[in-house]
């Protein structure tokens, strides 16, 4: 399952790495935009398969941040 950016902004925190186990709703990243830090929750429980974006990267709405299996 792909976790996508909710809105355009800069990735302010990437809290997981490949192989990490995550629970549903656990915060996996944060995107800073419009002077707000928007938390990105995991939509499902599972294992992080891919991290596509690093801290400081610019993302558009809909860009894939991580992939959970």
């Amino acid at each position: 399952m792909e976790v996508k950016a909710d809105m355009v902004g800069i990735v302010n925190k990437m809290l997981v790495k490949v192989g990490d186990k995550v629970e549903e709703n656990q915060q996996v990243a944060a995107v800073e935009s419009m002077k707000m830090v928007v938390k990105v929750p995991a939509p499902v429980s599972g294992t992080v398969k891919e991290v596509k974006i690093g801290e400081g990267d610019f993302v558009q709405e809909g860009d894939v941040l991580i992939v959970i299996e």
Partner: protein, 511 residues
């Protein structure tokens, strides 16, 4: 024919279509249209018209639609319900006349009308008697357009609502959709494959969840028929019978207990918090009826009661997209405000917004044109309006959330309120960029920036604006509910439903 035979005949018509079609709807988890009516209408109050429509034809009992007026919680409501077991609920010659007569009666009596939609659309083999005349199908849509804002118009879509008939619910105030069973589309997936080559499933094309979360056509997603009927009943309880009445008040209820507002709202403007928790602290327990819960979630809209009295709430949700206003949230806000204003429901704004979204993407999605729609809807609201600056209220966001300059009855604030044209980072950048760049030492530069930001932040606290009377009151969090109850009661004095802001034919909204 004697009475016994007449009763027999009535019972026969009321069974609807053939057994196999009843079996099919049952398989899909759907109720028979008459069972839906029995479920929602007060027992023994339903007055049906046109039961005998086309009883002389073969296989067209009531011409596939049940129409009449019954009471819901003691108040009369008109109903139009398609019968899926008769010719797939299609519109034939008398179906259309029955629907129109019900609409005209509802408008004349000034009572709400509810559509139970479950129909394959126009009956093609009868199209030459149903499509072109002044009293043919198009007048059904015309009647809804003309009744808009006069009486509440609600659609519960239990099955398909394809092609032209998709515009029937779209013209009503409120659309409830049943997960997995509702499908609304201009052309079916089969037609799309034929005409454009697109391959898409029914659910992706026009399913309930898609419409409630993405297109915004659906205002509420429910799991089954019973939940849809309960939702209709619940929704009606917040509305007067027509624009001439006041929304019915209920017995007051205390709010749910929990953390205090002062604790819920963080000082730090960039920290997200759950606005639902704040709403819970000020409304009567169990009174929240959310509108478009799954769509543009950065702006919460819903009906609620405070001390038993109905209020419409618009609130920025910083947990979703930072609570920023997007093109979709602007549309959502405009729709909700017009709905409340039409039926004398006062509006409460809970503001925590850094403005309208910026960037190439939203400009292409017409953030300005669609944002203007929200502003226009707001400016033309004549119901009591109170704006509470919960935290951030920057730029056009302050105006769109009914700040003082939008002529609210009152603009009050919590102590965490920060109304300004923009946030500290952007403002300092705009005002001091050259000076900041001239400072060579990095630490000095940082120090200067931070100092200026802190200064700015102090200036945009509520105390300055309150000192200048821009803000009417700064309210302790635990007194907010009482303050709002008192103010709403006060501002309803001397207001009449027929009050107009100015004389004119209509507002011009950019499309």
């Amino acid at each position: 024919m004697n009475d016994a035979e007449l009763k027999q005949k009535i019972a026969e018509i009321k069974t609807g279509g053939a057994e196999k079609y009843h079996a099919r709807i049952k398989e899909q988890g759907k109720m028979f249209v008459r069972d839906r009516l029995d479920y929602i209408v007060d027992e023994g109050t339903f007055v049906e018209d046109g039961l005998f429509a086309r009883h002389l034809d073969d296989g067209l009992p009531a011409d596939a639609v049940v129409t009449g007026i019954g009471k819901v919680d003691g108040r009369p409501v008109a109903f139009v319900g398609n019968d899926m077991t008769v010719k797939a609920g299609t519109w034939g010659v008398r179906t259309i006349e029955k629907i129109m007569r019900t609409q005209e009666k509802a408008l004349q009596l000034k009572i709400p009308i509810v559509y139970f939609i479950d129909s394959a659309g126009a009956r093609l083999d009868e199209q030459f008697q149903t499509f072109l005349d002044r009293r043919h199908a198009g007048k059904i849509f015309y009647n809804i357009g003309v009744s808009s804002g006069v009486i509440p118009q609600i659609s519960a879509i239990f099955g398909p609502s394809p092609a032209g008939s998709a515009y029937l619910p779209a013209l009503t105030d409120m659309i409830i959709m049943v997960d997995k069973n509702t499908s609304v589309y201009i052309g079916s997936p089969r037609m799309a494959a034929m005409v454009t080559g697109e391959q898409v499933s029914m659910e992706d094309m026009g399913g309930a969840r898609m419409h409630c979360a993405e297109s915004g056509l659906g205002d509420m997603l429910v799991p089954d028929d019973k939940a849809a009927l309960e939702a209709v009943k619940d929704y009606l309880s917040y509305f007067p019978q027509s624009y001439l009445g006041q929304p019915p008040a209920l017995e007051p209820n205390a709010p749910i207990e929990g953390r205090e507002i002062d604790e819920i709202v963080p000082e730090d403007q960039s920290e997200a918090f759950d606005m639902y928790e704040l709403i819970d602290r000020i409304i009567d327990e169990g009174s929240f009826f959310e509108f478009k819960e799954l769509y543009a979630r950065e702006l919460i809209t819903g009906l609620a009661r405070m001390n038993g009295r109905v209020v419409g709430i618009l609130a920025n949700q910083s947990m979703v997209k930072g609570g920023v206003l997007f093109p979709n949230s602007a549309d959502k806000g405009a729709h909700f405000m017009q709905l409340c204003n039409a039926f004398n429901i006062p509006l409460l704004f809970l503001t925590d917004v850094s403005g309208f979204m910026l960037g190439a993407q939203v400009e292409r999605q017409a953030i300005i044109r669609r944002g203007a729609k929200m502003l226009s809807a707001l400016f033309n609201c004549t119901v009591p309006r109170i704006s509470v600056i919960v935290r951030k209220a920057y730029g056009a966001g302050y105006v769109a959330m009914s700040g003082a300059s939008s002529q609210s009855d009152a603009c009050i604030a919590l102590r965490q309120g920060k109304p300004a044209i923009m946030g500290p980072e952007a403002a300092i950048n705009a005002m001091y960029l050259r000076r900041i760049n001239e400072i060579e030492d990095e630490r000095e530069r940082m120090k200067f920036t931070m100092q200026k930001r802190a200064e700015y932040l102090r200036n945009i606290q509520v105390w300055g604006p309150a000192n200048e009377l821009f803000i009417d009151m700064v309210v302790p969090g635990d007194q907010l509910r009482d303050e709002l109850i008192n103010r709403f009661e006060l501002y309803s004095e001397g207001r009449k439903p027929e009050d107009k802001l100015v004389d004119r034919r209509n507002v011009v909204i950019r499309g």
